[in-house]
């Protein structure tokens, strides 16, 4: 086992489709504005680390790769929880350089960034100020808001994490306070079927590569819920 220093407060991480790179979202210290957040790139073969500092105002929390690995998307939110507005950066993965950004009015207190199998749509769980938790769908090229879907009737908490099935037909999102998982039909961007009961505080979520099983990490009840999603 190897331990690598990748920066201050590393958050979520993602492996490039070819397995050669790992991007790690780095929060930094956006609350005291002392350490810039950004992302770190781990070269898997050499285990070398290169950290790209972006700014001291945002905490960078989620990163995903496009299916072909040519792009990555890095999501952040302002450290000031009063404002809490976020941003998504597109990264050119051949140069590890920032290309463009969007989402400053739609990505609010966001978590659970994921991308559709065709890499055309980004999804995130967000918490608009004073509203119920939402799942948003954004055009990955323009950042345009394609859909915002209310996930619960309770105001004031964020939903959790998201995952897209291998066939791309569905996205599952954990509703951490509701204690369940909801399924989105990605072709209609509408919730389909009934909520799946999970343990208390469902957050992390993963799907088996064959698309037959869904695994949910319940942080309050300290358990993993296994769901048959084969048919």
């Amino acid at each position: 086992m190897a331990t690598l220093s990748v920066g201050t407060s590393p958050n979520q991480l993602a492996v490039s489709p070819d397995g050669k790179k790992v991007y790690v979202a780095i929060e930094g210290d956006p609350y005291n504005h002392t350490v810039a957040g950004g992302f770190s790139i781990i070269d898997v073969a050499s285990l070398s680390v290169n950290t790209i500092a972006i700014d001291k105002s945002y905490e960078y929390t989620y990163v995903v790769f496009s299916a072909d690995g040519t792009k990555a998307y890095l999501m952040a939110q302002q450290g000031d929880v009063v404002t809490g507005f976020g941003i998504i950066w597109e990264i050119n993965t051949s140069t590890d350089q920032l290309v463009t950004s969007f989402g400053t009015t739609t990505v609010y207190e966001a978590s659970g960034l994921s991308i559709s199998r065709d890499s055309n749509t980004l999804y995130a769980a967000t918490l608009p100020s004073g509203q119920v938790p939402q799942l948003i769908a954004l055009n990955a090229f323009t950042g345009d808001l394609l859909a915002d879907i209310a996930l619960d009737t309770n105001v004031g908490y964020n939903a959790g994490d998201t995952v897209v099935t291998p066939n791309g037909k569905y996205l599952y999102v954990t509703d951490s306070q509701g204690g369940n998982v909801k399924m989105l039909n990605t072709s209609t961007n509408k919730i389909a079927g009934k909520p799946i009961p999970a343990g208390s505080g469902p957050y992390g979520i993963a799907v088996a590569p064959d698309g037959n099983r869904l695994y949910i990490a319940n942080y309050i009840s300290s358990s993993v819920t296994v769901v048959d999603i084969s048919k």
Partner: protein, 110 residues
């Protein structure tokens, strides 16, 4: 309205109705093909605050990052049995797709 126009109108409506019924029929299999989403097991983790979770590329192993307890649980997907590995406050975890290795990587893992 002349009889000819009336019959044409009725014929058009019939064709539209038949087409609509056909489209609904074609759409039915897709509408009914939702996954069952049936909970089949609940597995306790070795320690508290499981947050991140990942499945190995071959689907045989599930990794769970348990933040407060400082552990990564490694669960056999078939038997649902797990082993605990100490780790310093892991939050998220991913698996690298490698044909010979199922390498888990987690943040803040030591």
């Amino acid at each position: 309205m002349s009889k000819q126009i009336l019959f044409r109108s009725i014929g058009y409506r019939l064709k539209t109705a038949i087409l609509s019924v056909s489209l609904i029929a074609v759409g039915l299999p897709g509408a009914l093909a939702l996954p069952d989403n049936k909970v089949i097991a609940t597995i306790p983790t070795s320690t508290g605050l499981p947050l991140g979770i990942a499945v190995s590329p071959n689907g045989k192993v599930v990794y769970v990052a348990c933040r407060d307890g400082g552990a990564v649980d490694v669960i056999n997907a078939a038997t649902k049995q797990g082993r605990r590995y100490d780790c310093d406050r892991p939050w998220y975890i991913v698996c690298r797709d490698n044909s010979r290795q199922q390498n888990p990587l987690c943040n803040q893992c030591k």
